[in-house]
Symmetry: none
DNA sequence: CATGAATGAGCCTTCATTCAT
DNA sequence: TATGAATGAAGGCTCATTCAT
């Protein structure tokens, strides 16, 4: 193996490692303080590199934050994929995806802190085109995976196709999940709703929507505890923490 | 009646009028540009008062923005109250509240632009205690109104009480509504879900959740178009715009 | 006289005074250090105002520097105008304008330091449209004044019209003057050319060009010392310094 | 001959070649963007060497730019020398040098972009002593060549020696040339003076000055078109482009 | 000798907030 | 009470230069 090839590979590896280090610390700051309440100087100190080095990886603060968000989204899509491969009925698989959403909220809480930045035009303008596309791509992956299960459910007559389109059903599931996570973060709402286990609350809402879509077998007719145990064991063995809490 | 008392009262009236003027323009800026992309100078110009005068009404930019948000929330609670007085079954009244949510999203779009700020600790720290409480108060009003209808529905056996608690049901409705509004704003989601009428999409999701809660009469068993016409006519006569679109 | 009018006027006056103070110090820095070797912080310290105040007068460092340059140009045009009103033959009046050029170089040396910035596109982009136009306007004034004298000289047959156009003649005078000032600043050239009095050197060159244009009465046929004394006495009584040196 | 000496020589040759490569690209950047709007990184990319290598040739960006300028100046001096050897009267030879100036402006336009930097003390401080001297040396060469022709013209009574000294005459020619090039670059001046062919405008001004110096035979008495054709053919056969334009 | 990752001083600009008038 | 000039901290980003490999 030629020396320069090794060198190249090592440097690339180091570059990758450094980029991940930066992303990790940026994610932490995002979780702890949101977007505004930290600056590139502080991040540089945290990663023990200089500001200049940061800018060799990312073209702007926004570009960096978008990269964090996209990373999270990639995780989510990966979890979605794993969940979609769960052996079971379509409703059981959608349930597995529900778990994936909770896993996402648990492991990538910063995403919800960034979400609104993603709606501001000025934010996107400051990010590089490359990262914009990467983000869209991961978003589309998530949607597609869930949508395919819904389409299959309709094909198998496990969900009626006369009330809602597959897209409406997918949209309902996406909406209730995002909304539940958002609401779950509001201290006041938690008090009023008497929520002690946020993830549980999210999953209940997903069940309500699935039942509302008449996705068989209905939650109110069926005991999903066995399924849940299998999902945890087979798909998210590391998820016990939030599931038990 | 002493002259100075009259003066005082007039001054108070003028103060009120000015405060509302400021809030109106701040709301507009919030809608048009979000939180960052305008400053107190520009707001002062817009209201044709000086910056100093602005600070006689609000202790900081955050305080001002929170006041705008609270105003919106007060509107929402007011609309909820009107909707709750609608003559009809509990499900019909919840439906009226669904209308109120859409009315809110239509008339107070800035609220969604401010939402994230409301989650940042540093934001709340800069607002006055007075406004923080006012905000919480209006939030609680909204919750309570919807919650009462759910409780009543359960009392009347229009919604089963064995599957979910009243709080769970309320939370599900709140979550799906917020989530739907949020998702509805994402261009990519709109494309993927084929959404042309966002408000319609929100209301479909509310129906799905209500059906999921088994709130009778179910949407899939019942034609609500007459109810909807009545809601519009009796509660939101001015809502036609977004409803027709 | 209403109180607020007085106030207004006083504030405006103060604003003007401050703007001039800023320009004066900026001019000094430009002379001493060129464009790069000072920053807005240092200027702010020099004028004993804050950076923010600087930016209430000028939109950028470039805008400020352009304002200095335009001020100088305005002076030049004013001096040109005064010179053009000198009582005498066209050649004598052009001679008076030659004095004005020297006066300009003496009183506004920073202009030559800024000149090249004025050729960089990125410089102009950062200045406000308003100042760009003001600069062009003063430049055009200078040209016009000199050009009119040349045209008149041709009309009176004091300069032949068969060799060069009026514009060519004007351009030659402008070029030799600018070039002489530039070259005069080069220490090496001064040594090689044995220049002790730069202004004198500039004026000799102007004479050479006028003679080259065959502008009567020729320098080599005529003693202009009386004219020069009159110009100094009547047009630039304060110019003695550089003239005597 | 020892092996390492050969190697050394080859390495030296390569070093030279690389230095020229760097200078060539730096000149291009100077022409295209001036001094500020490019950085060492971009130059390194352009020459396909690393930044470190750049710094083995030049001690700083300023040092590098000065080297470019000196190179140009060396060209100018070389062209002056060739022109000075032109067979003809002194005035014809000065005419050939006028051509050389145009050739210089055409082939080394970056020199005019760098000129101002050369006046800033901070620029010179950052360049190496070696390069500073090299630059002065080439500047002096140019002056000397022209000056010798003037001296000779006076010796031969082709130019009167009673009006101006040889140095004054040389200085006038240098000044008008530089000034004409500078003015010729100003868009506004070009418009006002109706200049379509900048080089032509420069040469007209040189003629005016020579006539002003009474350098025989005068331009207005003599047809120089034959001379010009010879100069082009014999001294600057490659100059046709700008001359014809 | 060549490399290019790492550095960090430096700069322009913004804007919420204050306070003398 | 209303004003708006003045403030100055803060922050994103650049880039010439260095030096370990």
């Amino acid at each position: 193996m030629p020396a320069d090839l090794t060198t190249q590979t090592r440097k690339e590896r180091e570059f990758q490692v450094r980029e991940e280090l930066i992303l990790t610390h940026a994610r932490r700051l995002l979780i702890e303080r949101g977007f505004q309440a930290w600056n590139m100087e502080q991040l540089a100190e945290a990663v023990e590199y200089s500001k200049g080095t940061l800018y060799q990886h990312f073209t702007s603060k926004e570009d960096l934050v978008l990269a964090v968000a996209t990373d999270s989204l990639r995780n989510r899509a990966d979890w979605f994929e794993k969940a979609a491969r769960f052996q079971g009925s379509t409703r059981e698989r959608s349930r597995a995806i529900g778990f994936a959403c909770c896993e996402f909220a648990e492991k990538c809480p910063e995403y919800f802190h960034v979400e609104m930045m993603l709606k501001s035009a000025s934010f996107w303008e400051k990010a590089s085109e490359e990262r914009r596309q990467a983000h869209s791509f991961q978003g589309a992956r998530c949607w597609r995976i869930l949508n395919h299960i819904v389409v299959e459910a309709m094909a198998l007559n496990e969900m009626p196709r006369d009330s809602f389109t597959a897209e409406e059903a997918t949209f309902a599931l996406v909406s209730v999940t995002v909304g539940s996570h958002v609401m779950t973060q509001e201290p006041q709402i938690r008090v009023q709703a008497g929520i002690t286990n946020p993830m549980q609350a999210v999953r209940i809402n997903q069940d309500i929507v699935c039942d509302g879509l008449n996705w068989k077998p209905l939650f109110r007719d069926h005991d999903y505890s066995k399924t849940d145990q299998r999902i945890i064991a087979e798909v998210f063995p590391e998820a016990v923490n939030w599931y038990k809490a």
